[in-house]
């Protein structure tokens, strides 16, 4: 379909114990242990921030600030809880606050990397053009959406978070995740079709 491969460097599977050990060491002031956690989750933290801020430079800045704040908030981290969604919650808050404080325009400048040439795509030129057109329509709608809606969609479709992780990262009950997501999708469709945004 495209030459761009999905990168999954932040999977939590298979290493929750290690995370817990690193968190515990970090809580005891071991900054090397914390740097290891940062390295492990820097990609998803910066990506999450990017979905909200829409600029790569701001996103890296937000991710760095969020990691520093998370370190000083480790005493409020529930022992044994998964680290990644807890971190993402801090990242998202930091990114949203920063955008609001800066009084930025309601739309963001998210952009995608398009295929360089048709040579590395398995699609016919027609199908490729249609896929590109759809991307443009959906991306344009995403740019206009509220940060919170964009975040839910990103967690589900961009980062493939589980429902449990989404609930933790969004700070909502597990049963609320589905309705949050379907409302966000409904609003996405409304924007795509030129309709009004309605808050639930």
């Amino acid at each position: 379909m495209s030459g761009v491969k999905r990168v999954r460097t932040d999977s939590v599977e298979g290493r929750p114990t290690e995370d817990a050990v690193l968190v515990e060491r970090s809580r005891n002031g071991d900054q090397d242990a914390y740097a290891e956690l940062v390295t492990r989750y820097q990609a998803i933290a910066a990506r999450t921030a990017y979905v909200i801020t829409g600029t790569a430079a701001d996103a890296e800045d937000v991710a760095q600030d969020a990691f520093v704040k998370a370190y000083y908030a480790l005493d409020r981290f529930r022992a044994g809880a998964p680290f990644r969604p807890w971190l993402l919650r801090i990242v998202a808050n930091e990114a949203i606050n920063r955008r609001k404080a800066a009084g930025r325009r309601p739309t963001v400048g998210l952009s995608v990397v398009e295929d360089r040439a048709s040579g590395d795509t398995a699609l016919s030129p027609e199908a490729s053009a249609l896929a590109r057109e759809r991307r443009e329509i959906v991306l344009d709608a995403l740019r206009q959406m509220r940060e919170e809606d964009r975040l839910v969609i990103a967690y589900r479709y961009f980062f493939d978070l589980s429902e449990v992780e989404m609930a933790e990262a969004l700070g909502v009950a597990r049963g609320t995740v589905k309705s949050r997501l379907s409302r966000a999708i409904a609003r996405l469709r409304a924007v795509m079709e030129g309709g009004q945004l309605h808050d639930a």
Binding site: M1, S2, V4, K5, R6, S26, R27, N28, G29, Q31, D32, Y34, A35, E36, V38, T39, Q42, A43, A45, A46, R47, Y50, V51, A56, A59, E60, D61, A63, Q64, F67, V68, K69, Y71, Y72, A73, L74, D75, N97, A101, A102, L110, S111, V112, V113, L130, A131, E133, R134, R135, I137, V138, L139, L142, I153, A154, Y157, F158, L188, R189, M192
Partner: protein, 270 residues
């Protein structure tokens, strides 16, 4: 253009496709950057250690100190001094008997909270509009620091002016002028100040808003975050201080100058 609304699976496939193609940043050395930030002194005070995750009781300690100071203020004879209680949006200034100041060993140069940056960079990154004096006597700051407030929720920007003609260099911090700026909110943050008896507090108007001119001995601030925790900070130069609020931001100008000079410098903030 596709006129037909996308089917559900088409929309989902398009979203997945976008997720794979977004022009994400690719940080590679964030671990090093964060470690460097954690090694920076957050401020040069003994109580900073209390803010580490290991000492979550820090706020409680600060609260106790505040209770002690306020209780002292209630002792007959000094109550009059405590009566003067001024308020500046989220800032409360308490008058109280002289407070103990750290032993007076003059340090050549104090450390300031946060990481060294530039004024341009601070303006770009801070979560509020950073202003600096345009007064020709000061010129550009020699150093600019960007740190976090103790609550971890906002930026604190510090402008340092090392030595300026006609403005004495502070014995405590080794600099002439210090400007500290942070977002201060009306109902959320209580910012208290305990001043010794050798300190004079005067209400003034700064750039159309209310402010306070504080003259005399070293001062110690107490302020409360949204969660009700009490934190403390000192005025760094032990000199005269002009404190004002402008556009939701609290400004602190510390310099051994006259009130009129300080007001003139404050008017030049751009």
């Amino acid at each position: 253009m596709t006129r037909e609304p996308m089917r559900e699976h088409e929309l989902e496939a398009t979203l997945t496709d976008i997720g794979e193609r977004l022009a994400y940043p690719h940080p590679t050395r964030l671990g090093d950057a964060v470690r460097a930030r954690l090694r920076e002194p957050r401020a040069g005070h003994w109580w900073d250690g209390l803010r580490s995750p290991r000492y979550a009781f820090g706020p409680a300690v600060a609260t106790l100190v505040l209770i002690v100071v306020v209780s002292l203020a209630a002792v007959p004879g000094v109550r009059a001094a405590a009566d003067e209680f001024l308020r500046l949006r989220g800032i409360d200034i308490f008058r109280a008997p002289a407070i103990a100041t750290p032993a007076g060993t003059a340090v050549p140069r104090a450390t300031f909270a946060g990481g060294l940056t530039t004024l341009d960079e601070a303006r770009r990154r801070a979560d509020f509009t950073v202003r600096a004096p345009a007064d020709p006597r000061l010129g550009s700051p020699d150093e600019v620091y960007r740190g976090f407030s103790a609550t971890g929720k906002g930026d604190v920007i510090t402008l340092v002016y090392a030595a300026r003609a006609g403005i004495p260099v502070s014995r405590e911090a080794g600099v002439s002028v210090l400007v500290v700026e942070f977002r201060g909110r009306i109902d959320e943050t209580l910012f208290g100040k305990v001043a010794g008896e050798g300190t004079r507090i005067q209400e003034v108007t700064v750039n159309g808003g209310r402010g306070f001119w504080i003259e005399g001995e070293p001062h110690l601030f107490f302020y409360r975050d949204e969660a009700g925790n009490v934190w403390s900070d000192t005025l760094r130069l032990a000199g005269n201080t002009l404190l004002w609020e402008q556009g939701g931001v609290t400004f602190r100008l510390e310099a051994q100058v006259t009130r009129e000079d300080a007001l003139r410098i404050a008017t030049s903030f751009r």
